[in-house]
């Protein structure tokens, strides 16, 4: 399958966002926390994206915010992928009581919508960015366990695994030697979808004001701040809104493309 313009654009945006946020200290002259210019100005000399309500360099905040928003989601989605993946693998490889237990707890947890489950965890652990990441990661785990189990199960029924079993390979050996490597393309595409969910979850929770310290820039929290100045300084909502929207679109585009690439689907 050839990659279309959309895929290139999506990849381009993600590379730009990740690169810009990585090299934030080199790109932006000012830090994200010190007031440096006239508050609420849409642009000023040295401040290409203007200043926020407290006179801080908005470009700097957007870049440093990208670090948190983009990387926090990597952490959160890795958490649900590893946690859910291991549970799914155990269920598929071992079967029996373990499988039933995993399935049953995943299904029960899924009775609470993922975002609400994350909020419940924030309620238990108290607001703050680390809590939000943990909550979104854990909130995505049950769904991941269920999907990975079915993937592993499908693979297990494929002929070469049966052959390995017939040759007397141990269950653990089969799991490690055969199931994991063969699941890689599926897991990769799952990771993309999961990243989109984690990104949406984290920006939503921080948008709802559950991130704690407001001086730390984060896209969701910045979007929420922008709401107060929608009519006198719309740029405060525009830039983080655009960053969030483009990132979600890009991840979705890549996810769809990846899914089409997957053999056998």
């Amino acid at each position: 399958m050839k990659a279309g313009v959309g895929v290139w654009l999506a990849g381009g945006w993600l590379c730009l966002a990740v690169g810009a946020s990585l090299f934030a200290p080199l790109i932006s002259v000012h830090g994200p926390q010190l007031p440096v210019g006239p508050a609420l100005s849409p642009s000023a000399p040295g401040l290409p994206l203007g200043a926020d309500a407290l006179g801080r360099d908005f470009l700097a905040r957007l870049l440093y915010g990208g670090r948190l928003s983009l990387w926090a989601c990597v952490l959160a989605s890795a958490l649900s992928l590893i946690g859910g993946g291991l549970a799914g693998l155990a269920a598929a490889a071992v079967g029996g009581v373990i499988e039933r237990l995993v399935l049953w707890s995943a299904n029960s947890a899924l009775a609470i919508p993922g975002l609400l489950l994350a909020m419940l965890l924030v309620a238990a652990m108290g607001p703050g960015l680390p809590t939000v990441v943990l909550a979104v990661g854990l909130g995505g785990t049950p769904g991941m366990a269920r999907i990975t189990r079915s993937i592993f199960l499908q693979l297990r029924q494929s002929s070469y695994v049966s052959a390995a079993e017939a040759l007397g390979g141990g269950r653990r050996w089969i799991a490690v030697r055969h199931l994991l490597p063969n699941a890689r393309p599926h897991l990769l595409s799952l990771a993309t979808t999961n990243y989109a969910w984690a990104f949406m979850g984290i920006t939503t929770l921080t948008f709802l004001g559950l991130a704690g310290d407001p001086s730390i820039p984060e896209w969701g929290a910045m979007l929420n701040d922008g709401r107060s100045h929608l009519f006198d300084a719309p740029h405060l909502a525009l830039w983080p809104g655009l960053a969030i929207g483009l990132t979600i679109l890009a991840v979705h585009t890549l996810g769809t493309w990846q899914a089409r690439l997957r053999p056998g689907d």
Binding site: N107, A111, I112, P113, L116, M119, A123, L223, H252
Partner: protein
């Protein structure tokens, strides 16, 4: 979705009963999960009261005793379940009022928002789905399909702010009116919420339409000279409707969660705002009550959805 009829030998009624039982067990497990999540973190519901000077140490001890917090965890859990069955969700730490009463106060606002949102999501979803499925390769179809995808992908926070901004600009020109007030209060939030959940409806309708347009009876109708107009659409759409209708139940559950963000964006009172403020204030009997409510609504919706598809789809009924 969980398959309804993996045992075709069972009668339809038995299938419904079994599904309801499954739902009840799932709801029980979810409810237990909220209990465990909140207790394992070790937060004591009344210690906050003490540190805020709202109660003396003796009063806190008395309260702890009254709430049964001095008992072993297992007993507490059983008491919690017993109270839950009687509809007792406990007492809010901050306002010292029954959780159920506090939730009931805020329910109408959220119910109004969610039901308006549901109607709108069906209208938009049906429109987009038909447009996308009718002419999949054409510009209109692709546009509708893209819009449906956008509806699913975009967070409510983003579309909500965009909507507030646009309507605000118009409002500043147009001036105050009953229309603008009503628009701000309910219609706009409902529109944003409805748009967000219309993507799923559109996808189901589109898929159904695509399938039935390829079906022999439609091809036969076309070959007999039925023009590709509204009549044909109606014939093609009919089999696509039952899954869409059973989706309504699932939508209801989704909307329940979506109201949290919508209410924050639009600063509407309701269960979503209640949830956020209870989380921030550490009033987690309220948070727990809301999550339990969500779990029950969610599970019940799944059961209703399955039952609906069973009742509506003659093919499923026959195998049952």
């Amino acid at each position: 979705m969980v398959p309804v009829l993996d045992r075709p030998a069972l009668g339809a009624l038995a299938a419904i009963g079994r599904r309801a039982l499954e739902g009840a067990v799932t709801a029980w497990a979810a409810v237990s999960l909220t209990f465990v999540a909140l207790r394992l973190t070790g937060t004591d519901p009344v210690s906050n009261l003490l540190s805020q000077g709202l109660a003396s140490p003796q009063q806190v001890e008395a309260l702890r005793h009254r709430l049964g917090l001095d008992l072993p965890l297992l007993i507490q859990y059983l008491q919690f379940l017993a109270r839950l069955l009687r509809g007792d969700l406990g007492i809010s730490i901050y306002t010292n009022r029954p959780v159920l009463g506090v939730i009931a106060e805020q329910l109408p606002q959220t119910a109004a928002l969610a039901s308006c949102g549901l109607l709108i999501s069906l209208a938009i979803g049906l429109g987009l789905g038909v447009a996308a499925g009718w002419d999949e390769r054409g510009l209109g179809g692709r546009l509708a399909g893209g819009l449906a995808g956008l509806a699913t992908a975009m967070p409510v926070a983003l579309t909500g702010i965009l909507a507030i901004w646009l309507v605000g600009l118009v409002g500043q020109r147009a001036g105050a009116s009953e229309w603008m007030a009503a628009l701000q209060r309910l219609l706009l939030p409902a529109l944003v919420l409805g748009f967000a959940s219309s993507g799923a409806v559109a996808r189901v309708v589109q898929a159904g339409l695509r399938e039935s347009l390829k079906a022999p009876y439609i091809l036969a109708a076309i070959s007999r000279g039925l023009s590709p107009g509204p009549r044909l659409l109606w014939h093609a759409l009919r089999p696509a409707l039952p899954p869409a209708i059973s989706l309504i139940a699932l939508e209801a559950a989704f909307l329940f969660g979506g109201t949290v963000v919508t209410e924050t964006v639009f600063s509407r009172p309701g269960l979503g705002r209640l949830l956020i403020s209870s989380i921030l204030q550490g009033d987690y009997p309220i948070a727990q009550g809301l999550v339990i409510l969500a779990a029950v609504v969610y599970t019940a919706s799944y059961v209703v959805a399955d039952v609906l598809s069973l009742v509506l789809d003659p093919r499923l009924r026959r195998t049952a």
